[in-house]
Amino acid sequence: MSNYQSAPATETLISPTEKKAPKPSPRIQLSTGAISVLTLAFLLATWWLVTAFEWIEPLFLPPPSAVLEKAWLLMTKGYMESTLWQHLGASLQRIGLALGFAVLTAIPVGIAIGHNRIARGIFDPLIEFYRPIPPLAYLPLIVIWCGIGEFSKVLLIYLAIFAPIAIATATGVRTVDSAKLRAAQSLGATRWQLIRHVILPSALPDILTGVRIGLGVGWSTLVAAELIAATSGLGFMVQSAAQFLVTDVVVLGILAIALIAFAMEMGLRALQRKLVPWHGQTH
């Protein structure tokens, strides 16, 4: 089928008669990726320029070289009794734990919501009630209840990640192709086999989208929570450096936070391509 579609209309348009049309001037055609790289390079160059000529004081914007040097220092010696790796590890451990628990609980809950009327009646209002609340708004309550230890932070991120995954899973379950369900039933599938062999794989693209959204929300929530109540982690590092006006550490921390978020997004996209290669195919 794709063979028919891959003879695009544009190809037939470039027929000999079309050659009379004004040719595009022989300018260099840049790919979108190349343009993005150039944009980043321009940004870096501007940063270097304004700091090299000291148009902006290093206190407000340290030069790239200083940030790099600081990065090396942080990786080897550390800041606030922990190296960059330890801060990073603390943050990643929190989000990893929260994500693990969220995946383990939100997917079954999502399937139940999508599959079962009673489960929908129970979970739907609960999730819809707390989901629109910014997690930082209920952080104080969590701190009152559970203290300021690791558990509070993991719980906060867990709650932030749980809702998007559960909602996406429920959507995926509800939109399962009914012909596939009937086909499996007429091949003798039991209720559990339907869930395991048809519903779960059908909903997987939606589940992964939910995880992607959840991780985005979770990461920003985590960093924000670390700004407020923590003694380690990237958010804490940025916050405490800001209090002592160590701007290069602040900039470095922000860059590290952005890099991690970017890496997680890319990793999940790759996972999506690997796990659900059929998604988006003309099936």
């Binding site: 089928m1 596939k180 086909a183 499996a184 039933q185 091949l187 003798g188 599938a189 659900v276 059929w278």
Partner: protein, 263 residues
Amino acid sequence: MALLQLERICAQYPGAAEPVLSDISLSLGPQQLLVALGPSGSGKTSLLNLIAGFVEPSAGRITLDNVPVKGPSAERGVVFQDDALLPWQDVLANVGFGLELAGVPRAQREAKAREMLALVDLAGFENRRIWQLSGGQKQRVGLARALAADPRVLLMDEPFGALDAFTREQMQELLLQVWQRSAKPVFLITHDIEEAVFLATDLILLAPNPGQIVEHLKLDFGQRYSAGESARAIKSDPRFIETREHVLERVFSQRQAIAEQRA
């Protein structure tokens, strides 16, 4: 002895004023390929869904070897118009899916799946992904999957409706070959008159409002194909054309009668 039996079946959707099907009785046994032909709204899909067990009749009895039919089951295999294959599995796993559900060990179900793929002329396609197949190939996989589970009867819901004319002719011939070799009773619904006349040993003509059987023909064109005559020769045989025109006329006269009724 008849295998599948429908006794005075009525079906009505909740809230609907008129029944979809009214007083349908028929039987389907070995060596039979029963085709239900009718315009849209004649309830042929409902009839198939009733036999498959996806919906329940509001009155009447459906039995398979004298056992009442209750819900979908592996003894009534279904081939769908929209292939309904599982894109996360390859062709071989799709064909073996029914056996996997039944707990058959991998080696055994793969052997059976290969055998069925050979039966539908798809040997060598075992490891293809579903989205790499053409429409006709998908329908072959759907047919192989239904057969691999070894059902008592095979139900086909407009299986070639979405295919182009050439592929459809090929698939009709393939179906006759498979039907001959597997010796399974087949219940097939279609709105293609030529297809119905060519395939059926038993052709029932359904009329709408409410869906009812208005004619039951015994035909042998499919058997003639199985006996070695070419499909083109059969389809251009005057007797074939005469039968086709007769059925066509019945469909149109039904339509007219309904139009007059409404006027």
